[in-house]
């Protein structure tokens, strides 16, 4: 009996279960209308839609768990990818990997700057990153001279990362994204430093009293988020084959935050799992792919997109309420 209640309450507690159910339902419903949705080819398309969001979502998730938010990732992504693009164009002899590292480092540096401003002046990250969202975009225009890096300069091997596959036809960038998710999982769940991020978000007042070095930890979290956004910039270049300073990554932060929140990461900090985030990203990716397949007019996409966010929030809320009630009932029954 108590085992069953325990199992039930864990299940109710698991936000992930809810998203998984939504994913299955969506697949079935869309599949019923458009059987083509349930093919391997679609799976590949969905898989390709995921890495861009997933990698940045890992960073954003850490930031949210630490009770912050990073709205500047779209601009960081653009900055990193334009830096890499410029290096590809102007320094064709430099090995690609150097440019990739440079892009990640640039992302990390901008994230670091976010972290420093947030901690040094004790400012709410939402406003700081709203500011750097604009500021970094300005930098993108500045370093690029407002000029696009054309496809001819993007190295073949980089583009092939989203086309060729080492195994089972799964493209490199998809594998990369899942490796990063796994690393993040390991870091957050099995490394002391990772646990401290949860602690920090769970109770920012208690954290310093427990010897957690809040300032460096916060800066680290923003730096990681920036670096992952930077890596996303590289993937962006790989997937789309050119880098434009004006459109790359615009509005990207909303997509990522939506995915992370759908994945059950609390914007109040301290709560959230890598699994949930991955599922949230998959759900969003599926919606993106399903709509054109269903022949839904492009006009409806935003409506559905917005509705999915609102519904996910409502479901999250009801799951939480239900688990709280179950907990209370269990308590009074005991």
């Amino acid at each position: 009996m108590s085992l069953i209640t325990k199992f039930l309450s864990t299940l109710l507690h698991r936000r992930e279960a809810g998203i998984a159910v939504m994913i299955v339902l969506l697949a079935l419903v869309v599949g019923a209308i458009q059987p083509r949705f349930l093919t391997l080819e679609t799976l590949r398309i969905i898989a390709l839609a995921i890495p861009l969001i997933l990698i940045a979502a890992m960073g954003q998730m850490m930031v949210l768990v630490a009770r912050h938010v990073d709205l500047s990732i779209g601009s960081i992504l653009a900055f990193s990818s334009i830096i890499a693009g410029i290096m590809f164009r102007d320094l064709p002899d430099v090995p690609i990997i150097i440019s990739i590292v440079a892009a990640i480092a640039c992302g990390g540096a901008l994230g670091f700057a976010n972290g420093v401003i947030v901690t040094l002046f004790r400012l709410p990250s939402i406003i700081v990153t709203l500011g750097t969202l604009s500021l970094y975009r300005g930098l993108v225009f500045l370093v690029s001279g407002a000029r696009q890096v054309d496809p001819q300069y993007i190295p073949r091997s980089l583009i092939e990362m989203s086309q060729t596959s080492p195994i089972f036809g799964i493209p490199w960038i998809v594998i990369l994204a899942f490796v990063i998710a796994l690393l993040t999982y390991f870091f957050l769940d099995h490394v002391r430093l990772g646990r401290q991020i949860y602690a920090l978000g769970s109770n920012p007042v208690a954290a310093p009293l427990r010897g957690i070095k809040v300032v460096p930890l916060t800066i680290l979290v923003f730096t990681m988020s920036g670096a992952l956004a930077g890596l996303t910039g590289i993937i962006y270049a790989s997937r789309f084959g050119y880098v434009n300073p004006g459109i790359t990554g615009v509005g990207f932060e909303f997509t990522v935050i939506a995915a992370v929140v759908i994945g059950g990461v609390s914007i109040n900090g301290g709560v959230g799992t890598v699994l949930g985030t991955v599922l949230g990203v998959i759900l969003l990716g599926m919606v993106n792919v399903a709509l054109p397949l269903l022949g839904v007019s492009a006009f409806w996409q935003d409506v559905i997109y917005g509705a999915v966010i609102v519904i996910a929030l409502l479901i999250d809320k009801s799951v939480r309420d239900r688990s709280a009630r179950a907990l209370a009932a269990a308590r009074s029954a005991a």
Binding site: D189, H190, V191, R192, L193, R195, Q196, Y198, A199, G201, S202, N203, V205, A206, A207, P208, L209, R210, G211, I212, K213, G270, V271, R325, L327, A328, A329, R331, S332, A334
Partner: protein
């Protein structure tokens, strides 16, 4: 004494924004003693404790550990030196498991080291067994009662193997049985040669546990005494600089009609079938162990979190209270237990805090009249003797007792006929407490009905005409003043089934 003291504090002073809250404290703490810190609210006890634990840095003064000068710049250093502070308000990480809460922030392993989940949970389980509490260490901290959270804090201090453990009002949320357990542990630690600083407002606990006591007043150390040598009166005199009269003031006011009657109030998971009534002029106490559900009942009556079923009658007529404003319209008032969160508007002025309940009064024609507002506030400040620099200063700058007075003042302006006071004197020093008792008595004498929730039995026994007792969400006793004693109340308050009973049988 042959050995150097474990800690020697010299000339410790602390200023906050220019206000000196601790001045020139010299104190020696010996190895293997339990040392009480006593003093009124705001005397500086917690501040001193925090300085020892590296939370605050002293403005002036030095610390020596075993005769060696040390600088305790941050909590990590303190921990390394073997100093652990159990904070006044339990500080934990609500989203993380009990086991993790026990080890988080421990400095003995590398930051990039792996988290040994299994080991950690086993260790936590052992620690809980050792303490004699039944807490599932894999559950998140969030679900724990305050008392259990406090026990986890204590367990953490134990686990960290400290030389000096500072407990800042650890017993406030604990049941007598838990207090007993805590005392046993404390004595054992002392016998192992560790030092414990014990901060409490309950003098009987100090008498029962402590070896020496240091009394603070207005930020200065007044005296350090051997506990066996002094009486409570002596200590109180030292604390407030004057003697205090006996606690009993209830002046049998005239008891009238039933003002508030609840019947069959239930909220699944919180409380069940609560029925009682309070008459005009009557003070009805509500006793119970922490977590018994008293606050939940009060919140339900006042409409903060209405009950699922049951009825409420006010002055004989059934009423619906969907939100607090309904309750206020019916003449109810509620002083919540968690003053910092549910009571004050911390950054707003005292004035705005006091007039929060009477928008109609301060704005008779829709626009706020500064004159009326000033007058109302001045009246409150005078009537309740609220001590402040200016009515326009943020209420957060006031001491706890004065904040609580302002909250009461807020309600007096609504001229309530039924007052629900939830732990109104919690964390308030003896001097201000006496003022509160007096005020409560006067309110009843005016013919108001009062429901007084308190965890301090002497307080209830002194003030109440009748005492209700709750245990595990149910009403277990309704005692007349004549029948109520500490024993009868505790008998009803301790649950008949469940954890507590099993434990006491064991």
């Amino acid at each position: 004494m042959a050995d150097a003291p474990l800690i020697a504090a010299r000339g410790i002073s602390k200023q906050f924004a220019g206000v000196e809250v601790l001045s020139d404290v010299d104190l020696d703490l010996m190895a293997g003693e339990i040392h009480a810190l006593l003093g009124e609210n705001g005397a500086g006890k917690s501040t001193f404790a925090k300085i020892l634990a590296g939370v605050h840095r002293p403005t002036r003064g030095t610390l020596a550990l075993n005769g060696q000068p040390v600088e305790v710049n941050n909590p990590t250093t303190a921990q390394r030196l073997g100093i652990t502070l159990i904070h006044q308000e339990p500080i934990s990480f609500p989203d993380m498991s009990v086991a993790e809460n026990l080890v988080l922030g421990r400095t003995d392993s590398a930051l990039l080291g792996r988290v040994p989940w299994a080991e950690m949970e086993q260790g936590a389980k052992d620690l809980m067994t050792q303490l004699g509490v039944r807490i599932d260490v894999t559950k998140p901290m969030r679900g724990l009662s305050i008392a259990d959270q406090q026990m986890v804090e204590i367990a953490r201090a134990l686990a960290s193997d400290s030389r000096l453990i500072i407990m800042d009002e650890p017993t406030a949320p604990l049941t007598p049985k838990e207090v007993d357990t805590l005392f046993k542990i404390a004595r054992r630690l002392r016998d192992e040669g560790r030092t414990i600083i014990f901060i409490s407002h309950r003098l009987e606990e100090v008498q029962a546990l402590c070896d020496r006591a240091t009394i603070f007043r207005d930020g200065a150390l007044v005296d350090t005494v051997d506990v066996v040598d002094v009486t409570d009166e002596d200590i109180i005199k030292l604390m407030i600089g004057r003697p205090l009269r006996e606690l009993i003031h209830k002046t049998g006011s005239e008891i009238g009609e039933v003002a508030l009657e609840v019947s069959g109030l239930s909220q699944p998971g919180m409380f069940k079938n609560i029925s009682f009534s309070v008459r005009k002029g009557e003070i009805v106490g509500l006793a119970g162990l922490v977590g018994a559900g008293r606050t939940d009942v009060a919140r339900a009556i006042f409409g903060v979190a209405p009950a699922q079923s049951g009825t409420i009658n006010v002055n004989g007529a059934p009423v619906t209270i969907a939100e607090p404003s309904d309750a206020i319209d019916l003449g109810l008032a509620f002083v919540p237990e968690d003053r910092a969160v549910a009571g004050i508007f911390k950054t707003l002025s005292v004035e705005h805090n006091i007039t929060a309940t009477v928008p109609g009064k301060i704005a008779p024609r829709g626009f706020i009249s500064r004159g009326i507002e000033k007058a109302l506030t001045a009246q409150s400040v005078k009537q309740l003797r609220i001590r402040l620099a200016s009515v326009r200063q943020p209420i957060g700058e006031l001491s706890g007792g004065n904040q609580q007075k302002a909250i009461l003042a807020r309600w007096l302006h609504t001229d309530p006929q039924i007052l629900i006071l939830d732990e109104p004197t919690r964390g308030i020093d003896i001097g201000v407490k006496a003022e509160f008792y007096d005020m409560i008595g006067k309110l009843a004498a005016d013919g108001r009905a009062i429901l007084l929730i308190s965890s301090e039995l002497p307080e209830l026994l002194a003030l109440c005409d009748r005492i209700l007792v709750m245990a595990e969400g149910e009403l277990t006793a309704d005692l007349l003043r004549a029948d109520a004693t500490q024993e009868t109340i505790m008998h009803a308050a301790v649950p008949k089934t469940g954890n507590h009973a099993q434990e006491s049988a064991a």
